[in-house]
């Protein structure tokens, strides 16, 4: 009954005309961002975040959430039609989606992708409503050692799951923590590495860094390549509503993808990208005819698309209940909430119920809007794909500039953005990832405060992190994550040595 009461309240907030408008704008912009390769939800939210400062926090969060899950919908369109993922979590959709298009089934691929995303997104929102309140209550038991340990786990997970070198991932996280220390010391108020620059007293902002690394860095990487026209698959888009056969083949994949995405989306570091890969692998593994995968299997589209949308809903759970962002987009939301003067954490639901329930209920509305937008507007999105990059990238640069400047009306933020843009470009060359850096930058401050408070509480005894049960659990999982690759690597190298060792002659044991 409580949930019904909360839902009623949430819908009363979400259905206010201004919030419906922002939900629509967010979903529309998110789909556009997802359609356009080269700018993903991270770049879009970074760029549009400062424009929300003049709105109330509820409307801002509704719009930003719309951008996030909208981009998941939009990313599938380019994956299916031009074999280029609109955003990272749609990479897997390219494998079978484009093949379906080549086989004359683009409509079915797009249709099942949209419907699967809708079902998964809706179930994800239901799950968010059910799991979030009890998790928030559980979060009230968290003290400084627990917060420190769970953030440590989150940083370890994102390093563990990063695509490149883990050593480089840890280095980026360490550098992110160093950057987060610039500014005034949160406990003693002394200046740290500000070099007498007033603009650094508040530290290095997350928004210019994110825009630089993911916006400007991406642009510099794209413009260095020659202009090659992307071939859009020319086909008449027929039958966007999946057939009965399509539904029969996809229903299991949609449900499994939803479950996989929902639970993985909650884990710090995992997110929509990992969810979509795992869903694809799962579908291929359990299929009676795995040889169809990679050649146009509809389950290869339905599963991953459902997974990434479910993950985009459940990702809000740790942020809104524990105050822990579990991926980069949530880190941006975390930054946004603190800029609005709100403290993400267990008390957010209690202190700002209109924000929590309003955003959750707006996600129902947003999912319906996306289904309505995506199907009829696909031909329009296809036209947008034809805009040459040479026209797009200057506009993206201007949006980044305005986004950085508007934070503090200070040109030094633009300079920070450009510097990190160059760094982001160089990171790509030298194979370093920006994601651990950004997450560490966002979490660095609370990580440090909770570490120092814990040591003050325990009078310098680090055993506090393992004597408290909740903290001990998170620390154990962190150690397992760090040590597991070492064990498996050692085990594999031992097996290799055993396999290549020549057999002993005349029975002698070597």
């Amino acid at each position: 009954m409580d949930i019904l009461h909360h839902m009623t309240y949430g819908f009363s907030v979400a259905l206010q005309p201004i919030n419906v408008l922002f939900c629509f704008l967010g979903a529309l912009m998110g789909t556009l961002v997802g359609v356009l390769p080269g700018i993903g939800p991270i770049g879009a939210i970074s760029i549009l975040l400062p424009t929300t400062f003049h709105l109330n926090p509820v409307s801002s969060m509704i719009m930003l959430a719309g951008i996030y899950y909208g981009s998941m919908y939009g990313g599938s369109i380019t994956s299916i039609l031009i074999n280029i993922p609109g955003e990272a979590a749609s990479v897997v959709t390219c494998l079978d989606g484009y093949q379906m298009a080549k086989n004359g089934r683009a409509g079915s691929a797009l249709g099942i992708s949209a419907f699967g995303s809708f079902i998964a997104g809706t179930i994800g929102v239901v799950g968010l409503m059910i799991f979030a309140p009890p998790l928030a209550e559980f979060g009230l038991r968290f003290g400084p050692p627990e917060y420190f340990s769970v953030i440590l786990l989150g940083l370890s997970l994102i390093i563990y799951l990063s695509q490149g070198s883990r050593v480089k991932g840890i280095m980026m996280a360490a550098f992110g923590i160093i950057l987060s220390c610039i500014g005034l010391d949160p406990m003693e108020g002394s200046q740290r590495m500000t070099y007498d620059l007033l603009s650094l007293w508040d530290g290095i902002g997350m928004v210019p860094v994110a825009m630089g690394l993911f916006g400007i860095g991406e642009i510099l990487a794209n413009i260095e390549e020659s202009d090659t026209g992307k071939e859009i698959f020319q086909t008449k888009l027929r039958n966007l509503f999946p057939s009965v056969t399509d539904w029969i083949q996809s229903k299991g994949a949609i449900l499994r993808g939803t479950v996989v995405g929902f639970f993985l989306g909650m884990l710090p570091g995992a997110g929509a990208l990992i969810s979509s890969f795992l869903s694809y692998s799962l579908e291929k593994k359990i299929s009676n005819s795995p040889e169809r995968f990679g050649k146009g299997a509809i389950e290869g589209v339905a599963g991953p698309e459902s997974a990434n949308n479910a993950a985009s809903s459940s990702a809000f759970i740790p942020l809104l209940t524990l105050g822990i962002p579990c991926n980069i987009v949530m880190a941006l939301f975390f930054g946004a909430l603190t800029i609005y003067g709100l403290r993400p954490g267990p008390l957010l639901i209690e202190n700002s119920p209109e924000l929590f329930w309003g955003v959750v209920c707006s996600m129902y509305i947003g999912n319906v809007m996306l289904l309505v937008l995506n199907l009829p507007l696909i031909p329009a999105w296809v036209q947008i794909l034809k805009i040459p990059y040479k026209l797009l990238f200057p506009i993206i640069i201007i949006l980044c500039i305005i986004g950085s400047y508007s934070l503090n009306s200070n040109s030094s933020d633009i300079l920070i953005m450009v510097v990190f843009g160059v760094l982001g470009y160089l990171f790509r060359k030298f194979e370093y990832e920006g994601a651990p850096l950004i997450l560490a930058l966002v979490l660095g401050n609370i990580f440090e405060v909770n570490l120092r408070q814990s040591l003050l509480l325990s009078k310098g005894n680090p055993a506090i992190f393992i004597t408290r049960p909740i903290s001990a659990f998170f620390v154990s999982v962190t150690f397992i994550l760090i040590l597991f690759p070492l064990f498996t690597g050692f085990y594999r190298s031992r097996r290799r040595v055993k396999d290549v060792r020549p057999p002993a002659s005349n029975g002698a044991v070597k």
Binding site: V167, L220, S411, V418, R452
Partner: protein
């Protein structure tokens, strides 16, 4: 030898040594009362140790990468001017104002980088500048600098 990793490892090692020195200057404190340099120290130590590991790995690897391979085929004529123009933009922005600075930047990007026709570039630059000014300054209330020209 993997030269890109070696160079990047050396770079991060220098950064970590600097940060280590800075953290000790700020004050490490002690475990019962961590100082402002406490977390900085440990983060820099991790960065330094791992950068040494990267350097060692770069030296012992057999089939390494020549650093020049990173830059083969790169459109330097496009990347460096874009970086240069973006670095100059915040310097001139408070002086000449948003509209003039942005128009000039866009004109440079359209003509200089992507070789579009002059009239098309000029029109596009003007359109984007004016629309962005109206959207962000007039509608969303973002205060964009006016400069000495007054707009």
């Amino acid at each position: 030898m993997n030269l890109p990793d070696l160079w990047s490892g050396i770079f991060w090692l220098i950064i970590s040594i600097y940060i280590l020195a800075e953290s000790l200057r700020l004050g490490f404190g002690h475990f019962s009362r961590p100082g402002p340099g406490f977390l900085l120290f440990w983060s820099a130590l991790v960065l330094g140790v791992l950068s040494i590991l990267i350097c060692i790995r770069a030296v012992i690897v057999k089939n390494g990468t020549d650093i020049k391979r990173l830059w083969v085929g790169i459109g330097w004529k496009k990347v460096i001017p874009v970086i240069g123009s973006l670095l100059l933009y915040p310097v001139f922005l408070p002086v000449i104002g948003y509209i003039v600075a942005t128009f000039c930047l866009l004109l440079f990007l359209f003509i200089g980088i992507k070789r579009s026709r002059i009239w098309l570039s000029g029109l596009s630059s003007l359109l984007v500048t004016v629309l962005s000014y109206l959207l962000f300054n007039s509608w969303l209330g973002v205060e964009l600098p006016k400069g000495f020209i007054g707009f």
